[in-house]
């Protein structure tokens, strides 16, 4: 992530914006001149000013990740101007739902097999007969705890963000 300034070559942003690339250019560490399309996409969707504002609000060690995600979003929006990244989210959510259903079905099969394997013992002579009890214990009361119940639907509230620094209000 070397600054292009050290080579006296403007970064992709300053080249695109046709301006002098200063030593403290906010874009230079993240938009090298060898990747002009990256900045072009980001500028087209977000605007150079908004990107600079976003980056300035972040500590330096988080800016590269932010630029990567902005570049990804911008490219997705250029490819799909209607849905952008949301199209990918919808597709992935459907995959998660399909896998959860498959998992439920597979667990049901497993339990049916397990039940059929349990031998039914004849009652011992002299002992009171008790019905066979089979109790399937799981954390959430179902027969298979699915640890990742994540049915996030489009525009529903986000639950996944606890690990990231959250300094803004919600919808």
């Amino acid at each position: 992530m070397a600054s292009s300034n050290s080579y006296n070559s403007p970064c992709a942003a300053c080249k695109f914006l046709r301006r002098k690339c200063l030593p403290d250019c906010i874009y230079a560490p993240h938009f090298p001149p060898e990747e002009p399309q990256k900045f072009a996409n980001v500028h087209k969707i977000f605007g150079a000013g908004n990107v600079a504002k976003l980056l300035r609000e972040l500590p330096p060690h988080q800016r590269e990740d932010a630029v990567s995600s902005l570049a990804f979003e911008a490219e997705a929006r250029v490819r799909d101007p209607v849905y952008g990244c949301v199209g990918a989210i919808t597709f992935l959510q459907r995959q998660v739902e399909r896998l959860q259903k498959e998992l439920e079905a597979a667990n049901a099969d497993l339990i049916r097999l397990a039940c059929s394997d349990i031998p039914i013992l004849p009652p011992a002579i002299g002992m009171q007969q008790r019905p066979l009890e089979l109790r399937i214990v799981a954390e959430n009361g179902g027969f298979c705890p699915i640890p990742y119940g994540f049915p996030v639907t489009y525009a529903s509230s986000l639950q996944w963000n606890e690990n990231h620094h959250n300094n803004h209000g919600g919808i």
């Binding site: 990740d65 101007p81 995959q95 990742y148 525009a155 963000n161």
Partner: protein
Amino acid sequence: RCAACRHLRRRCPSDCIFAPYFPANNPRRFSYVHRIYGASNVAKILQDLPENVRGEAADSLHYEAYCRIKDPVYGIVGMITVLHQQICAAQRHLARVHAEI
């Protein structure tokens, strides 16, 4: 006036590009997209699309803006990463269950 023209403090023309998708009763919707994309970028994106899909585009722009405001580093891409991880975990789990069967 629609939420966009109110936010931008301008007259709302009859053919305002924002009015159908940023109603006055939801000012936060426009303020999110304005903050992340800027009004002119949103207008450009909507103008380049046929009218019948502009509503979907406005919705997805709003959702992505909301995700970016909530998570300035990863935005909606963080959610994609989480979903990928969940899919991998589910596939591994399924393979284990099938192996047991």
